[in-house]
Symmetry: C2
Subunit: 373 residues, 2 copies
Amino acid sequence: MLRTWLTIIITSLHGASAIGQETLPGQRSETNIDRSEFPRVHEDGRVTFRINAPEAKAVQLVPGGSDNGLGQGPFEMTKVENGNWTFTTEPAVPGFHYYWFVVDGLLVCDQGTYSYFGYNRECSGVEVPDPNGEFYAIKRVPHGALRSHWFQSSVTGRWRRAIVYTPPGYDSSETRYPVLYLQHGSGENQFGWTEQGKANFIIDNLLADDACLPMIVVMENGMIARRAGSNNSMARNSHNEAFADVMIQDLIPEIDRSFRTLNDREHRALAGLSMGAGQALRIGLANPETFGYVGLFSGGGTSSVPFSSASGLKLFWGGWGAGEAARFGGTKKLVEQAQAAGINAQWLEVERTSHEWQTWRSCLQAFAPLLFR
Amino acid sequence: MLRTWLTIIITSLHGASAIGQETLPGQRSETNIDRSEFPRVHEDGRVTFRINAPEAKAVQLVPGGSDNGLGQGPFEMTKVENGNWTFTTEPAVPGFHYYWFVVDGLLVCDQGTYSYFGYNRECSGVEVPDPNGEFYAIKRVPHGALRSHWFQSSVTGRWRRAIVYTPPGYDSSETRYPVLYLQHGSGENQFGWTEQGKANFIIDNLLADDACLPMIVVMENGMIARRAGSNNSMARNSHNEAFADVMIQDLIPEIDRSFRTLNDREHRALAGLSMGAGQALRIGLANPETFGYVGLFSGGGTSSVPFSSASGLKLFWGGWGAGEAARFGGTKKLVEQAQAAGINAQWLEVERTSHEWQTWRSCLQAFAPLLFR
């Protein structure tokens, strides 16, 4: 709101023509590269997309998936002046949404935004501001460090790059910290939780409010690299198995060697979103001596699980968006099974959101304060 | 070579049809996303590009700039079977090269590679292996940490994200370290030196060979954020001035506050490539009490410089690729002026390379060992 008013004031002061700009409604998405005026987000959450394609015969806007908050696409764009094509959505769900264009049958990214890895490739992204989004905003509070950490995997024989958040004060203390392993969804990678999910700012803000304990957060690539050219989605089962091995045999020992961790199950949590929720469920419950806390964000499957083997679990947690509740009834059922088995199990349904990042940001905000108590 | 032979052996063992793959010549570029077979790099350095665009009437391959090692494009691609368009370059210069496609007049990225920020937007990239490229390979040596570090700028009033390399051992020691500030070129950003340039692996490898002193390396965005919608290249002078203020007033104090630095000019260096070389020249020589070492990689301009005011400089260094020597004669002239002024000034001409990342990787490899001695 403040930003909108400031924009109006500044535009009034300078006059649109004086600075050589069209007067455009709405504000630039924060995902836009510096010189790009589109996509633009309106006060009511509608989003206007534009692409310049003078020679095209047909252009569609395609939201990532059918359920990502921009509406049920694809949407036919309209050709306007100067070879531009445009489309304005209905009010979108707040938060981050993937999208791309299809120009005469060719899938292309919007050259106006930074790239965000999803759907097994680079995508365009738009960020719709949320009046309740202060919890993931970058603020004048101490910030943790976000590190790329390379290590060699005995399972894959390759180098891997983990993203590791160390909390404020890590560098200047000798404290040992608990660790949350936090996994992305299908087709995403280890950058998703910070670049799309703003996990680092969420933890920074919780810490500034004394709402969670200082922790290390480790994010890895769960779409495990296999033979070049194999199809990720077809090989999901095999890569889930391979990732379980990487997690237990490579990643956890590497993190415990390289960072000042508390390395027992009381100080180790595993959570993930969508596909990553399934990985958290399988890896977490199969290794009860390793993880004391398991979180499923919008996923985990519907099959019944041997909670009896996980009786030492300190917390089993499930979360999903209200808009996807019908699809993720299985997650709720798992929480109920865990409760029936005598495990501390809790759940959260996030109002208004669906199978998209705003749900998962909210899940992290709710889950992190429960850890390591 | 080993990788090529292994590929041949594995392909022979499995049989191409048994694994449902075409037998394709060359090897995948290391910039490719997991499922992508193109671009492919041949043993002799030729590169084959492919894009699937069944409805297109004309497709060009466009190398970034006219001088980036892939040859003088744009190149008309040829339509082959199944709606694919293909083009194979002449043997390319080893190293990283930007590129994109133009499909019926529309600039598009290759959906087969990760994105690399250049030309003021996300680009596709290809990596041509170099038989002499061991110096930037990821190896079984101690690796420094690569951190994103956010801070608020008093100059721009915005949050900025610096990339900071801390050397192996930083976390477990109480040592203070010298700092190299290292800037990218026009249209790139703070991620260029690591994602394209592999600066972190270059320093890791030099350290493992005892060839340079442990140092912190700080990489910032020199295309300074100004009003939304302004054109970067037109405003270059003003953003160079703004960046000088950010560097001196915000960045250096922030780094000295946040990391264990040695904070005098004997332990502070500034270098940059192309536009960044110009920034290093101007900021470095205008602040002789701040920087003891200045490096210009492929740039810096031709104007004469008051080296008399920089008599305390410990090193003035210039480097460029042989293929761009005619354009960067000015850099050599600056080195000669510095020598005439009694300053320790050295230069390097990198064989075979031109205005592209292989030159700048080689410059860093040669420059870093000379620092802080």
